[in-house]
Symmetry: C2
Subunit: 558 residues, 2 copies
């Protein structure tokens, strides 16, 4: 096949802190070259770029121009690294964090780029982990249940504060002038395609999972009016737009975007997609029962099913949400790698940093090495993994972290391991919810940055008692985007065919150890007790603590 007729596609994965471009061979999915580019502004969670405008707790914003910079720097760098003639690239696909929302004018200009709004937090991108719209989400859920809205069951009974409607309602109620000026409320996943192709196409995945589009319908005008009379036309004014199916072509690369990327103008640009969902085909894991866990700062769980079931607390079930023709189920954990990152950034003393450096290890590797010498339960701790809230099962971002069992002899590696375990228990709780609802999970396939931690992977296999496979690519989402680009460009008839040819996984590389799994059962039972105590209203202390914190922060700003 090296006859010079090789064809390539580019996949670009937009994460929480950076974007990554990968050049992939169409024939077999081989990843030829890649490059990263960090967002200059990262996540805004304390102050706007003006350095003056303070943000309240639970806010998380981004700057859209940072995404364009990924196209300008990472794509050319990946092409250069691959040593591939750009003329041989036939398509580009992207995936994004979700639900990450950009408020824009009719021409796609983000509101924060308009001078009068540059100091208004609501004019910025609301990143997926912006959790300040919980009061709005609470009302959406209460009103939906009161009115008996049927769509709520498609989301496990709860709409998240992370999604389009809660975040949109927050803008209306806190910054009506921004809401008024906003012509469209656009997923970043679609906004970047708009920048690449000049076409605004609303992808079926986020429209379904985050935009409450079910059976071709959005929530009704009556429902919206009951939330707030001024919100009645939210769907028609700000959201509704033609839908594009995953793997289809949104448009062709514009001259401007060709200039940014170094790719040929006119090549296929695939419909926008989401990092988690796009990974399933990259891992060749689109069969029912194969749950793909994309484990990074947070974890997304995606799995196809042949029929529709309503799983309490799932994120959603969407027809064609992962693969056309199947019901796509999604669940998630709001914080996983983020929690480990918080811990090493805030809770690990200098002597550990020094010992790690002396050994030539990263701090995560060093703590993992210490933690894995322990037997299950030896640290005497149990933790809840809700530092960034709970996205599935409880669907409540007013929840927060807990650690129980500290003594004067508790060491950093003890707490680190307890936090690892908490995330594994969180995944098990989600899987049990699926199993109990007629959507059995038979295999766990892990993608994302955390799969390089072999101890964590073995822990997940032991805790869930499932065989654990790993995506073979170190850049699963970008490969998945490239697969969609190949289909959009017509190189394959559909995504399953492209997945079969281009996707890769390491099958069953971690198998549950029955002895260890049994010991984890006891700790998991403790996790469940605390999960229900703090998460199901027996003690709403977390809600009260956050309400107090918010009131103080608001008092400070006013």
């Amino acid at each position: 096949m090296s006859d010079g007729s090789e064809r390539y596609v580019v996949g670009v994965d937009f994460g929480s802190l950076s974007g990554r471009a990968v050049v992939v061979r169409v024939a077999d999915g081989a990843e030829i070259g890649s490059a990263d580019h960090e967002y200059a502004h990262g996540v805004l969670d304390r102050v706007l770029p003006d350095g003056a405008t303070q943000l309240a707790p639970e806010w998380a914003l981004q700057v859209p121009q940072d995404y364009v910079e990924v196209l300008r720097f990472a794509v050319p760098a990946a092409l250069a690294a691959a040593g591939v003639d750009p003329a041989k690239v036939i398509g580009i696909g992207t995936d994004f964090t979700a639900c990450t929302m950009v408020p824009v004018k009719a021409d796609g200009t983000p509101l924060n780029e308009i001078p009068e709004f540059a100091g208004n937090p609501h004019a910025f991108v609301k990143l997926w982990k912006h959790h300040a719209a919980q009061p709005q989400a609470d009302r959406i859920n209460a009103v939906a249940h009161l009115r008996g809205e049927t769509w709520i069951a498609r989301y496990g009974g709860l709409i998240s504060s992370e999604w389009e409607f809660a975040k949109g309602l927050q803008i209306l109620e806190e910054a009506p002038e921004v809401y008024e000026a906003m012509d469209k409320w656009v997923e970043a996943a679609d906004w970047i395609i708009w920048k690449l192709s000049g076409e605004y196409v609303r992808n079926a995945c986020t429209a379904g999972y985050k935009g409450i589009l079910q059976d071709g319908q959005y929530p009704s005008r009556d429902f919206l009016a009951e939330l707030n009379p001024r919100f009645a036309d939210f769907v028609t004014d700000k959201v509704e737009h033609p839908i594009g199916q995953l793997g289809t072509k949104a448009g062709c690369l514009t001259d401007e975007a060709a200039g940014w990327t170094g790719l040929p103008a006119g090549i296929a640009v695939a419909v926008g997609n989401v990092d988690a969902h796009v990974t399933a085909p990259a891992a060749r894991a689109i069969a029912p029962g194969q749950m793909v866990a994309i484990m990074g700062t947070s974890t997304c769980h995606v799995m196809n099913g042949t029929s529709l079931h309503e799983v309490p607390g799932m994120c959603g079930v969407v027809d064609g949400g992962i693969t056309e023709g199947l019901w796509g189920y999604e669940a998630g954990q709001s914080g996983v790698g983020d929690i480990f990152g918080w811990f090493v950034g805030n809770c690990v003393p200098a002597e550990y940093e020094e010992a790690a450096a002396a050994r030539g290890l990263g701090i995560h590797e060093y703590l993992t090495e210490l933690a894995q010498r322990q037997e299950v339960g030896e640290h005497g701790l149990v933790a809840l993994d809700w530092h960034s809230g709970n996205r599935s099962v409880l669907v409540d971002h007013e929840l927060s972290g807990v650690i129980v069992g500290q003594t004067l002899l508790t060491r950093p590696e003890d707490q680190y391991r307890a936090l690892m375990e908490a995330t594994a228990f969180g995944t098990r709780r989600i899987i049990e919810g699926f199993n109990e609802s007629g959507v059995p999970v038979t295999e766990l396939i892990v993608a994302g940055g955390l799969l390089k931690n072999a101890f964590l992977m073995q822990m997940y296999a032991d805790v869930t008692k499932l065989p654990l496979s790993t995506v073979a690519s170190s850049q699963g989402p970008a490969l998945g985007s490239a697969i969609h680009a190949a289909v959009a460009a017509g190189a394959y008839a559909n995504v399953p065919d492209a997945s079969e040819a281009m996707g890769h996984s390491n099958k069953g590389v971690y198998q549950p150890n029955p002895d260890v799994a049994g010991a984890y059962d006891a700790l998991y039972a403790e996790y469940l007790l605390l999960h229900d105590y703090f998460g199901r209203g027996l003690n709403d202390v977390m809600h009260r603590l956050k309400a107090r914190k918010r009131a103080i922060a608001e008092g400070r700003r006013s």
Copy 2:
């Protein structure tokens, strides 16, 4: 009075990590000179001095020779620092941590100094915070309640695992050969007096609070036999001994001890005493309603009352336990400064250490400075102060620490402040127990190392809503011991007279701020909910976690 006829006394305070000697003027309590000496072996909580014998979790041992070294080094150094002619010293008094127990031969030789026992953990001093006798304490409590033993109410309904009977029963059951070889089971408070004076005198304070001596009686032989038939003669064989009242003379300084200390042989040696109890006269706070809190690694609360009341969960009430003629009440918190120390040792990143150093501050001062900028509740956290168990109210050393409310934005100063608050809430809970039982607390007088933290002191005043005074001496216990030495030497008729002349306090230097106190009420309510949930059997997760940890440690050692 500087006519050269001045008389002096020496007080020696034996703490958890070091001993401190102070030379005090008899006339007015002026502290002329002092010196510290650290215990060479510190606290043994992982391994014996042989470097080979591992200790299980919850163990805490010491080496008695370390105490003698304090006499040899700190006393002469204090005399030298004072520039006082040793011939003018008329007496020496001491105070000790309690319940800290030495297993000895009939001549006072500690068993760990006998070669055959040098590698046996049970031959060492069991420090107050040795918490591995909880199973024995549980049985003592269960059997006492079953039999309707009246003395149990004098201890708030619960005997602690820290005390003489639980620790003694642990030796019998885990190391019968040590129990057999042990002629006496001696409070370290009395053992050091034995070393100074050659006389073994059992002081009324520890005999009452830790040795279950009430109305002249110990628990009966029948009761002991029911715990374990081989334990039937524990009182008569190992414990019972003539009692000395506080402030009386145990004997005269031996030639050997004169050689160690540089003091004149033959001067008065006061009956042994306890660090907390001896501080009340040093703070001139022996009136009913004046609660003295000695805040260091742990906190002890002592207060006199005119009549006998039974306070649930108190450590004990002893006739003459603090001051002859009054009922002495005691309560405590097992971990306070220890928790802050654990936190800075295990949970604070390098950048904080560096920032503190750059400012010329200690890490505790730096964290306090950051923490005190916050409003009450701004950190969104609530913690339980049970890292070293709960000594009063719940009296359960199988309990452990909890922190609730962590998010990805939680900073070290947030957690540090939450732990400070937890200890203040723990004190408030104890005070409320006294108030509800007919022993009202009207003033809080703080002694100990933590009183130098003004923010913490203000927090305690705000949380307890009490005026807070501080002991004027920076070495309250040693001054208190010196006061008892002065009485033992006949310089004053009794301890109240000596306290009036030699004790000092700063009255009401911290007053509760009503606004802040109101805000703390809300957090205290959260503390109480968690206190009862985790502490009163609603969720025994802490017990189960410790049982599992212990089983693993035992499996490792066997």
